[in-house]
């Protein structure tokens, strides 16, 4: 059984961090059971339509990924967003913090292509500038939550017993507290800054990664090569980090990718509630600051929201693509 398949096996339970306000969990395993019905009971299914298989798994992975149209669209989307965010200031050198036109200048006007906000600041420049904070928070918080999640899950899954029980109790505790709610409280109490926001998101978003990591580690722990390493006298830390976790990586990588999307949505939600770092432009902040005027200036909230939407969409598409490419059962579709 391949790791990706195991992800599917690990029941319909979530395998991926949830977004603040929405579900994501089922996505890696949501791919429909491909040949469920088509599989003939008697005739060998692999017989027809055999194509020569490339021997290099990495190459094969890339090929399968590239054949997946939507995944490629997602990838292109992400590249465009990254270019816009990090090379944008050079291409479009407008200061996002200064007034370039009258407040609420309509989009597609002479000075500001996407219009201006309530202070007459350029929305396009704001999106370019805000992308850096949003993406940075997203990636950093995702890394944090994935590291916590993997540590907790690996320890629980590897040692089992009381360690498992107590760590799972902690996980359960974090799961009954709505994640966005807890992040809101944390940021409110510790005053909003990029650091507190990142930490808060990292602290609330790990439980589902932990559950996934635990399931994977428990599965791999039972395998022969782990037993072999144990017999050879490997220590616990070596077994966990060098023997077991590498095998558990594929689904965790997908989960980590999706965690970035989740973290971006968290950041946007917090900023929208006025819990963003007021000194740093971010997509959520632009929406939050302009939302009182949205009936007069729709563009102030529409375009930054579109940026968030396209980024998370890109991440989901790529995540799905990676997941499908890792999952040999679906390859023949």
């Amino acid at each position: 059984m391949s790791p990706a398949e195991a992800t599917r096996r690990s029941s319909v339970a979530p395998a991926v961090p949830a977004r603040p306000d929405a579900p994501a969990p089922e996505r890696p395993e949501a791919a429909p059971p491909a040949e469920a019905r088509a599989a003939p009971p008697a005739a060998p299914p692999e017989a027809p339509a055999d194509t020569p298989r490339p021997s290099n798994p990495a190459k094969e992975f890339v090929q399968v990924f590239l054949r997946n149209g939507t995944a490629v669209i997602g990838f292109v989307l992400l590249v465009l967003i990254a270019v816009m965010t990090f090379a944008g200031p050079a291409i479009y050198p407008v200061d996002p913090y200064t007034m370039v036109d009258l407040p609420f200048a309509e989009p597609f006007g002479p000075y500001a292509p996407l219009g201006t906000d309530y202070l007459g600041r350029d929305i396009l420049a704001g999106i370019i500038e805000g992308g850096r904070a949003t993406l940075t928070v997203g990636v950093t918080a995702a890394v944090l939550s994935v590291v916590i999640g993997i540590l907790v899950g690996a320890l629980a899954g590897y040692f089992g017993g009381w360690m498992d029980r107590s760590l799972m109790k902690v996980t359960e505790f974090f799961q009954i507290l709505p994640a966005l709610m807890l992040a809101m409280v944390l940021v409110t109490i510790f005053t909003a800054s990029l650091t507190t926001i990142t930490l808060a998101i990292g602290i609330v978003a790990w439980p589902q990664v932990a559950r996934l990591a635990r399931a994977e580690v428990m599965r791999i722990r039972k395998m022969d090569y782990v037993a072999a390493a144990t017999t050879a006298g490997a220590r616990d830390a070596y077994l966990i980090f060098r023997v077991i976790l590498p095998g558990a990586m594929p689904p965790l990588v997908v989960a980590a990718g999706l965690a970035v999307g989740t973290a971006i949505l968290f950041e946007a939600g917090l900023s929208f509630l006025g819990l963003g770092d007021p000194n740093t432009m971010s997509w959520g902040l632009i929406i939050g600051q302009n939302r009182n005027y949205l009936l007069d200036a729709w563009w102030t909230v529409t375009f930054p929201g579109l940026a968030i939407f396209l980024t998370v969409l890109g991440i989901s598409l790529v995540g799905d693509g990676i997941n499908d490419a890792l999952n040999p059962k679906l390859r023949r579709r």
Binding site: V12, R19, D21, F173, V185, L273, L317
Partner: protein, 340 residues
């Protein structure tokens, strides 16, 4: 006695978790810059040293931390969540006022999402290569990726400016008239946009899940048995497959209740829906810690209640789950053979 043991142990576990939430709240208060008295004094616009000292003593802030914790736990246990100086009301009163609106919103959104999501999922599973199936896939990706507050804002702009058939703010019209029936209709009218907004992402999620689960179930052996009985395709799908396909959806509903509740905070803020979420937003703006922490506490209680209810529904729907087993655990296959 032993019959009640599983229930009792679950109750004990639930109480343990709640105690942990209370302790967390207490820690957060301790860690917050300034103590509650500073905050209150700030709200009151200043007070003399003696009054402050008196208040400190009153709050037990001059006692050791553990004593303070015990006092805090005792207070919460008796329903005393403190006093909100901004709203000028006991926090508990405030929360109980706002709770029904949130529960109404969350349950409406959940019903819409489960119903619409499952139906879409089933229809698309019956024709996996059809137009609807592709539409469901695209919609579920889009629904997952759009920030819920943004979806709300877009609907708000649409229905306020372009197509004003639904109210975009609040829960009731100020000029209330038309008697009890009119009042219910008025609330329902106001409920449409927030509930649909909150439901969107879950429709996306459930339709995708229901589709996958239905496809899997339709390939199951017992579906072939049902067909072999000569049942019509409709009866095969609705009589035999549906209940099995719903099991993962029910599991997901339980697991996502917390997120749904968090989503309600954003949606209530967008549409000025006077629930707990809106209250949370207001207390963030006012740095009203007691209210904010009480909301955190109550959201945990709601999530736990929702989990128990899902568990019940789950057992109702899947006879293999019984006794003391916890949610989202599936029955193990019976050993083969045995005596006939």
């Amino acid at each position: 006695m032993s019959r009640y043991l599983p229930a009792l142990s679950r109750l004990a576990q639930a109480l343990g978790l709640l105690l942990a939430v209370i302790v967390l709240n207490f820690l957060l208060i301790q860690l917050a810059p300034g103590d509650p008295v500073d905050v209150i004094v700030g709200e009151m616009g200043g007070a003399s040293e003696e009054v402050i000292a008196l208040m400190r003593a009153d709050y037990g802030l001059d006692k050791p931390v553990l004593t303070q914790l015990a006092i805090y736990v005792g207070k919460v246990a008796t329903g005393d969540f403190g006093y909100s100086y901004y709203f000028n009301q006991p926090v508990l009163t405030l929360i109980l006022q706002r709770l029904p609106a949130t529960i109404l919103l969350v349950l409406s959104a959940l019903s819409i999402a489960v119903l619409a999501g499952t139906l879409l999922g089933i229809f698309s599973a019956r024709r996996p290569k059809g137009l609807l199936s592709h539409a469901v896939t695209i919609f579920s990706l889009a629904g997952y990726s759009a920030p819920v507050f943004w979806t709300g804002l877009m609907l708000l702009i649409l229905f306020a400016n372009v197509w004003p058939i639904f109210p975009v703010s609040g829960m009731t019209n100020i000029r209330g008239s038309g008697g009890p029936v009119g009042a219910v209709l008025d609330v329902a009218h106001h409920l449409v946009l927030p509930a649909v907004t909150l439901a969107t992402i879950y429709i996306a999620s459930y339709s995708r899940l229901a589709r996958a689960s239905m496809l899997e179930v339709l390939g199951a052996d017992y579906i072939r048995t049902a067909r072999a009985k000569g049942l019509s395709e409709r009866r095969v799908v609705y009589g035999h497959a549906l209940r099995n396909a719903l099991i993962p959806v029910v599991t997901m509903v339980g697991l996502q209740f917390g997120q749904l509740f968090a989503g309600a905070v954003l949606v209530e803020t967008v549409f000025n829906w006077p629930g707990l979420g809106r209250l949370a937003y207001e207390s963030i703006l006012r740095r009203d810690y007691p209210t904010l922490l009480a909301i955190l506490f109550f959201s945990a209680v709601l999530v736990m209640v929702a989990n128990e209810l899902t568990d019940l529904a789950y057992r109702k729907i899947d006879p293999r789950i019984g006794g003391a087993s916890r949610r989202r655990r599936r029955a193990k296959p019976q050993p083969k053979g045995a005596s006939a």
